[in-house]
């Protein structure tokens, strides 16, 4: 989905609140949120894709104004409700107020994943173009490279396609590649000597 999580290249955010060191958890609740996500993901057998998509479906304003571990909490509660572990009424009753959850899944369940792709279609040095698409479900193809041409710099392993595993029990495995994009091609802003590498599944790409 073209969600708020897909932040690459967005403008207007200002400076990075950088600190050279910080604690793993800024309070016990963050560790608990992390643990509860692991509990829920284990109980409902959520794939990595389904887990990530449960965060991506957060209401954009809530996503931008809440911390990382609030994302995890919201996602854990959303999956717990969607898989029938708890009800929204229980959450709100017990919390004594509103308990925001992520929005509904917009994509239909995937029934037929199609065959695994064992052979890499592209080799290092090949020019490829990222498909210009806007799938309504989960994808790991960032918006800022869609429709853009780049060069394969590395072949990685063959992995389950997130777009499929997020939407049901079906799975398809495909080769993945690291693709290099020249920054001026992405942003048309004339910057020099900057290359951005994005790791992409086979079906995200076409020959260029």
């Amino acid at each position: 989905m073209d969600g708020i999580h897909d932040l690459g290249g967005m403008q207007g955010f200002g400076s990075v609140a950088h600190s050279p060191a910080e604690l793993a958890f800024a309070g016990r609740w963050q560790a608990v949120a992390r643990a509860l996500m692991a509990v829920v993901a284990g109980a409902v057998q959520a794939s990595g894709g389904e887990f990530r998509h449960s965060i991506e479906r957060m209401e954009p304003g809530h996503y931008l104004t809440s911390s990382y571990y609030e994302h995890w909490l919201t996602a854990a509660a959303t999956l717990a409700v969607e898989h029938g572990l708890v009800t929204r009424a229980e959450l709100e009753g017990r919390a004594g107020g509103r308990f925001p959850l992520s929005g509904p899944v917009l994509a239909p369940p995937v029934v037929d994943a199609g065959p695994d792709v064992e052979a890499a279609r592209f080799a290092v040095g090949d020019r490829v173009r990222v498909r210009e698409w806007h799938p309504p479900g989960h994808t790991r193809c960032p918006r800022y490279v869609r429709g853009k041409a780049g060069v394969v710099v590395r072949l990685d392993g063959i992995y389950s396609v997130p777009d499929i595993e997020a939407h049901g029990a079906a799975r398809r495995r495909e080769p993945t590649y690291s693709v290099r994009f020249d920054a001026p091609d992405l942003w048309q802003d004339g910057q020099h000597g900057v290359r951005v590498h994005v790791d992409l599944w086979d079906s995200y790409l076409e020959p260029s």
Binding site: G8, A24, A35, V39, V194
Partner: protein, 197 residues
């Protein structure tokens, strides 16, 4: 009694929601005894940038190891005993005077846990994720990372299964130092690529 004991800190809305979900899942028998403490301990003391620093120091002192590290990051890092979730497919990218590498995850917060621990908050927040792929030279300068004027910048967006570790350049004047002393120089930020040593 202290003032604090009479006036405990107010519970924030997010803390209340966490406690709510924790209570409901515990009542259903889904939260194993000690699980939350185990998670806290693992990420607060067992994994962290001290692991990555050992990898870097070994690469600086052992050319054969460095070669293995750049050829197969996962296997070379496992030689030092590090691996596991978010570290199963490691690629190590080397900084040189002409090339500066930096890692980001624009879609979420992918990060090499076994060697760097959990990502810092700023790595997961929108400004870093939005800007590092769009204006890395400006953002690196803003974050206090000086670059040689025309050095190539390579940004690595961790959008699939690979997790990256930057191999920083060994600082000058460290020739006589032991591997352990060198590891003490290596910072988390230098292995993300937002600082140079």
């Amino acid at each position: 009694m202290s003032q604090e004991a009479h006036h405990p800190a107010a519970v924030s809305p997010v803390e209340r929601r966490v406690a709510t979900l924790e209570a409901l899942l515990t009542e259903r028998g889904l939260v194993p005894e000690g699980f939350i403490e185990e998670i806290t301990c693992r990420y607060e003391s067992e994994i962290g940038p001290m692991n990555g620093a050992k990898v870097v120091a070994r690469a600086w002192t052992d050319p054969a190891y460095k070669q293995r590290l750049l050829a197969d990051g996962t296997a070379a890092i496992a030689e030092l005993g590090f691996g596991g979730p978010e570290g199963d497919h490691m690629v190590v990218v080397e900084n040189t005077p002409a090339v500066h590498n930096v890692i980001v995850c624009t879609l979420c917060s992918c990060y090499p846990w076994p060697v760097l621990g959990l990502p810092p908050a700023w790595y997961k927040d929108p400004p870093y994720r939005a800007r590092m792929v769009r204006e890395p030279r400006a953002l690196l300068a803003e974050m206090g990372c000086p670059l040689v004027g025309d050095a190539e910048i390579r940004v690595w967006d961790s959008s699939a299964e690979v997790r990256y570790l930057v191999l920083p350049e060994r600082p000058p004047g460290t020739e006589g130092m032991t591997e352990a002393e060198l590891a003490g120089l290596v910072t988390r930020d230098s292995m993300i690529g937002v600082a140079r040593l």
